[in-house]
Symmetry: C2
Subunit: 218 residues, 2 copies
Amino acid sequence: MEPGSTPRTTVKRLPEKAVRDADAVSTILAAGLVAHVAVVEDDQPFVIPVAYAPYGDEILLHGSSASRAFRLLAAGAPTCVTITLLDGLVLARSAFESSMNYRSVIILGNARELTGDEKLAAAEALTEHLLPGRWAEIRPPSAQEMKATSIVSMPLAECSVKISAGGPDDVPEDLLDPVYSRVWAGVVPILEYFGSAEPDDMSGDTPEPPYLTEWSRR
Amino acid sequence: MEPGSTPRTTVKRLPEKAVRDADAVSTILAAGLVAHVAVVEDDQPFVIPVAYAPYGDEILLHGSSASRAFRLLAAGAPTCVTITLLDGLVLARSAFESSMNYRSVIILGNARELTGDEKLAAAEALTEHLLPGRWAEIRPPSAQEMKATSIVSMPLAECSVKISAGGPDDVPEDLLDPVYSRVWAGVVPILEYFGSAEPDDMSGDTPEPPYLTEWSRR
């Protein structure tokens, strides 16, 4: 069995879309902004969107110390962290073969809560993932702000990657059919970008920091 | 208690971001393309990205009949379906007040599996949500394709909405600080759009369907 793969994360459906490659994991984690994180309480799963950052062989998550989900995460409850990048719509000549191009990472495991210097370094990594270049300019968190924030870390040890890419894969009958063979088929890319920065009332005369123009993730 | 809200979905953290408004739910569901869906097996949650469609007072999800997650969903296992739209990065003068603008819907409940005519109508709704205008042109699913596809429906009865919008909300001390008051602050919008359609090998001479140019979701 390859690194990062366990029986729980082996991709059973569409195994041709499964990729076990640490580079693929780090590329997807570097490009995403939000993870969907699950915790279970009384057999009921809850999925919340969470800002994250890749951090060596781990992933960092942060939220409010008072949130139910982060109390469960900090206590080491089993969790699943999923990051999905949508790349395009795939238009085939049949409904069944139409699909989406995407890249996703699914991480299983248990988180541990960070404290002290490790937590402060993680806060910096979380800011720098979302807002690269920003940490050096802004006010670092106070002790009270750090207390109000929970930061947990999860190993990437048990994870799976799925990548769906390329054009439609129509069945031969549709490619020969007099009607359906004439239907336009292909891919419509989905692109995400950062728009023009909107300064707040006090920033009208402040020059835009150079890193703002460098942020373009895909 | 307002419609759609139960003790399980009452937003406890940042309740000022909670919105209980059926219009907000339908606007978010109309704009999203992918849901993150959780199921639990042996106390371990799994979160998978799933194509969905809003459908009256319900949400439709579809996947492979053979997938573990869809077998659990079809059996009525407790689930959570989360749709998140990222709208922007919020750059405050402190790390703690920096955040993201987003809109999210979290739906709790149990799905039911659709069959027969109801399932075929749902397949059309799923295609039309992702690819509006497409169903009339493409080959509808065969009986075998329908059998290979699981479509489940979840009521929107138990759901919560969170919307975070607007600019940074800096603490007064930072706005008066000689250094931090001079840091640029504001919002960087995150925009998603559909790029130029890429025809497959057989579609080079086929005119692009007019609905392709109409697809722009935000």
